[in-house]
């Protein structure tokens, strides 16, 4: 599938190079998030500039960008990318720098440099959307006491039943340590030691028999709806969609949420660098970032953007309570440490895979 | 030779339909004697194979009963019927050597190895393929493969051997050679044989008796000579050997002899079965029994006009028109002094009453 889109974009790139040089190729994630990007950024951008935008989907990772950059044939212009990948791509020289001075200031004139929380942005990225991995449960399965903390996710005695969990170490190791009593600030320091890693896996061990692993973001809401699991980790936007658009009786436990940011990057050497920068500048304004939250419950990373969050475009409901960065949801929230993960991801993946088979 | 009353196989009121609608065999009665070589002869599609398959147990009769040695075989599966079968395309197992092919029926019977070797040896001798035991069927010629198939059907000494057009795929010379071999093997072993062919020549060569099939019905069962000399049905007269057929109406009847109006002439004929005056009949006259310039003993003489003459080495085929109908064939042996006739000539031809058989007219 991906190869086909790759091939077609190759053909398209070859074609458009001669016919219409000014078509921007934006690569994002598809699904409901992809539609938000289209409505919040792409349509207004086309209206404002008249530049054609071609949207493509991908599944993350740097592999395709690396292939394009190394072959000198770059046909992706702007890519919507998780911050850890953006940082790595930036370090490896696969991405153009996006100087923070070129990003628009906040509505009140605060320069962009002061408007992004420290460490939330790669030097090669603009934009800035935060999503959260949270635990959600199906109300109908808990007629009595309802789980409310991350500890409850790991407590099979109090809340028996199977748990859904994404089949990767990222976030899950953090969840395990938080639920095991490690303070937020110490999570990554603890993970930096062998004992800490062992502790995280030991905590995961306590529910291992009851875990149903998922792979794609669409799976956990479905598993909850099918009552295949009583609780599951999930992306908050997906659960929001199920709650609001499909009226599913799901509840999000914001306690212990782990936030990950994503940004917009430019593969090094795109022949359409100008319009790529133009698009990033457009999408990085507080208004544009806040516009995303009219369609899906992901937060702008910019402080000023968060202040502009209003109501859901299609249903009119107030979005604030559903946002990862909303104050009431942030009482116990961890920002994923992309530096730690960049250093340890391969090893953690191996250990996690070993743990899975044991 | 076994006694004529020793019946081994009986088809009793057998009917068969594959699709529940059309009757392939409407009502068949037939018996095979022990040690006999019986051939089912008939054109393609006349139900011979069906007959054989029911006997072998691969098809079940729609109604009626098949008995072997006096007992119904209705509930006997093929493997229990003790019948060796030779298929048209040999059906040798290509992944086994000739020896293994022959060994197969012995092994499934749990025969001891020494006995197996002995029997295989003997069977290969019978079909004159000694020394071929280690070849694979694919390495043999068509004739050799057919011999293997025969050997395989004989090696376990079945009570009956069935063969379905076993020589159909071979060329004429080979076919004739194998016919003689099959006959001598059968005579030598005294095994009961039911043999299917559409080739009347072959049937004549091989059989003790021949059952002539047409449209699922047996026309006549008889020894080859009888079949040739005394056909009782128009179909048999036509199918077995050459025959001139003349259609006409019975004018007078006198004992077994009748006079038949054919065109503007009157022909005297021998009645196979009693016919009424006025009945339509068909007269069968063998071409080789017709003579030129007949002498006085010939009860039937008629003027003929020679249309054509074909020289065929040992004889001449003369096509003449009699009773204003063309294509009456006269076969003249090629011996010195014959001839002196040419196309266009008018001659007188004749035949005896015994050589002119009046059969019921079966034309629609």
């Amino acid at each position: 599938m991906r190869n086909i889109s790759l091939l077609s974009s190759l053909l398209l790139a070859a074609f458009s190079a001669t016919a219409a040089a000014q078509t921007l190729t934006l690569v994002s994630w598809g699904g409901s998030y992809g539609r938000s990007v289209e409505r919040a950024w792409v349509e207004p951008f086309i209206e404002e500039t008249g530049i054609e935008v071609q949207i493509e989907d991908y599944n993350g990772g740097l592999a395709q960008i690396r292939a394009q950059v190394e072959s000198g044939n770059v046909f992706w212009d702007v890519v919507d990318m998780p911050t850890p990948d953006a940082v790595r791509g930036c370090d490896e020289g696969l991405l153009e720098f996006v100087p923070v001075e070129e990003l628009p200031p906040a509505p009140d004139g605060t320069p962009a440099a002061e408007d992004y929380p420290p460490g939330s942005r790669s030097d090669c990225a603009g934009g800035g959307i935060a999503s959260a991995t949270i635990v959600a449960y199906n109300d109908e399965l808990f007629p009595g006491a309802k789980p409310s903390t991350l500890e409850d996710y790991f407590d099979l005695d109090k809340f028996p039943g199977r748990r859904g969990m994404r089949r990767v170490p990222v976030v899950n190791l953090e969840f395990a340590l938080i639920a095991d009593g490690v303070p937020l600030d110490d999570v990554y320091r603890t993970l930096g030691t062998d004992e800490g890693i062992a502790r995280a896996f030991a905590k995961l061990d306590t529910i291992k028999d009851q875990i149903v692993f998922w792979e794609a973001g669409a799976q956990p809401p479905q598993m909850l709806a099918d009552q295949e699991v009583v609780m599951t980790t999930a992306y908050n936007g997906r659960v929001f969609n199920a709650q609001i658009l499909e009226n599913q009786p799901f509840t999000i436990i914001w306690d212990g949420q782990v936030q990950e940011a994503s940004g917009l990057v430019i593969p090094l050497g795109t022949p359409r660098l100008d319009i790529a920068r133009q698009f990033i500048e457009f999408a990085s304004s507080a208004q544009s970032l806040a516009a995303i939250s009219k369609y899906i419950s992901y937060s702008p990373t910019r402080y000023s953007g968060n202040a502009l969050v209003s109501t859901h475009e299609d249903t009119g409901i107030e979005m604030a309570p559903h946002m990862p960065a909303a104050e009431q949801n942030m009482r116990r929230a961890l920002h994923s440490d992309w530096v730690w993960w960049a250093d340890n991801r391969d090893e953690m993946n191996e250990r996690f895979a070993v743990w899975l088979t044991r | 030779m076994s006694s004529a009353t020793d019946t081994q196989i009986e088809f009793i009121d057998i009917s068969k339909s594959y699709d529940g609608k059309t009757m392939v065999l409407p009502n068949l009665n037939m018996s095979v004697r022990r040690g006999e070589f019986l051939t089912l002869l008939g054109p393609s599609g006349s139900g011979k194979t069906t007959c054989l398959m029911m006997l072998a147990g691969f098809e079940t009769p729609t109604s009626g009963e098949i008995r072997v040695n006096g007992e119904s075989v209705h509930n006997l599966p093929p493997q229990k019927r003790d019948m060796g079968m030779v298929f048209q395309n040999y059906a040798l197992f290509p992944h086994m050597t000739v020896g293994r092919n022959l060994s197969f029926p012995l092994e499934v019977r749990g025969m001891a190895p020494e006995e197996r070797t002995r029997r295989i040896q003997r069977a290969l001798e019978i079909v004159r393929l000694e020394g071929y035991g280690d070849r694979r069927p694919g390495q043999l010629s068509g004739g050799q493969q057919q011999r293997v198939a025969i050997a395989r059907a004989l090696v376990f000494e079945p009570g009956v051997v069935l063969m379905d057009e076993p020589l159909g795929a071979l060329d004429r010379r080979l076919r004739e050679q194998l016919q003689l071999e099959i006959r001598s093997i059968q005579r030598e072993l005294g095994v009961t044989m039911v043999y299917v062919t559409h080739d009347q020549q072959e049937a004549m060569t091989l059989s003790d008796r021949i059952a002539v099939f047409n449209d699922g019905e047996i026309q006549q069962v008889a020894a080859p000579e009888t079949l040739y000399e005394e056909p009782v049905r128009e179909f048999v007269a036509r199918f077995v050997g050459d025959n001139n057929l003349l259609r006409g109406t019975v004018q007078t009847v006198d004992g077994e002899i009748c006079k038949v109006q054919v065109g503007d002439g009157l022909v005297e004929a021998f009645m196979v079965e009693p016919l009424e005056v006025g009945a339509r009949t068909v007269l069968a006259i063998r071409p080789e029994r017709v003579v030129l310039s007949p002498s006085m003993e010939y009860s039937n003489t008629v003027d003929a006009h020679i249309d054509d003459m074909v020289f065929l080495g040992d004889h001449l085929r003369v096509h003449v028109t009699i009773f204003e109908q063309p294509d009456f064939v006269v076969k003249i042996p090629n011996f010195i002094g014959q001839g002196g006739i040419l196309p266009g000539d008018s001659v007188r031809i004749g035949w005896t009453v015994i050589d002119c058989r009046a059969l019921p007219d079966e034309s629609p």
């Binding site: 930036c90 191996e350 | 059906a91 029926p105």
Partner: protein, 399 residues
Amino acid sequence: MVNPMTDKRLRAALLAAPLVIFVAVTFLAPLALMLVRSVYEPAVADSLPATLNALAEWDGRDLPSEETFRIAGTEFVALNEVRALGSVATRVNRLQSGMRSTLLGTARRLGNDPPAGSWRDAMIDGDEDWAEVSTWLAIRRAGERITPRYYLNALDLDRGAAGEIVAQPEDRRIYVSLLWRTFLISATITAISLALAYPVAWLLAHARPARAGMLLLLVLVPFWTSLLVRTTSWIVLLQNQGVINDLLVVLGIIADEQRLSLIYNMTGTIIAMVHVLLPFMILPLYSIMRTIPPRHMQAAASLGASFWQSFRRVYWPQSLPGVAAGSLLVFIMSIGFYITPALVGGRTGQLISSMIAYHMEQSLNWGLAAALGAILLLLVVLLYLVYNRLVGVDRMRLG
């Protein structure tokens, strides 16, 4: 004067050329590239020539000299300025977790604030990893152009301090067991497919044409259904609260608490993959069985063999080429299967391909992905050779 023979050959060559080129470009070249990548890793050597040169002299026991620290530090800073240190850091990090931030952090610090005095002290002050011998060993080892380490890693091995081959720590030994599991699951899938496909192929081959056509259609339907649709239906059918479990509970065959785990585990992978791969078993079987005359079974019966004797001795041996082709095809395809196990495999139903995909797409450790791929390739080729010995490829039909 054109020799007609040469002309003919030329024309044949021209006709075949597009395919040959296509295969060379889309298959042989990537394959060769992959094999090269699995042993050849020049990036670090090309980027850090001076440092590696200095480390070549080093005894590997005590910390390197001040001079080496200076050369290395200078080189890190220079590389970082041209944005080339990141890919070096990623590669060294594979040998020792944490080296990425150590290298990038050090380069940033040294670039902003070049040491006035000892480079050694400055670097160790900034990151105490530099005081570890293992750090330097990792850099030196990462600088090898031709390296067996991807193959070692793919076999859960590593090299110790003195370069000797040692087993990975137990909590990182994953690939060998995954390979085994892949083989076991693939063998199971092949066996089940064969058991299910054989009777169907038999029916197809020997049924009347109209009925056979219908059946063939049914066999091919999975080909035409999108993977996502199929996955969804498996989930609906197989999950804990799914149709099959509900049915079993309603029928009283199992109690409500005993619902079977049919998906998100190895069972799920096997069921789903058998479904996907069944046609690849049926079609070769069918094409072979069609060449086996039904007369053979009748002949065997007339020779006195029971159905099972006839089948075992006459039909089965003749169908073996189809069995071999189908099994080989299904087995090889299962080994490389990726999406289905990812979606329905849960914890225990993952295959080695998931790791290869991870290293291709996420970790960008293409060398390790290539080594894993090469090992799979080798095993498949071996298997093929064995099959060839046993069955003969010329007798094999693929449909």
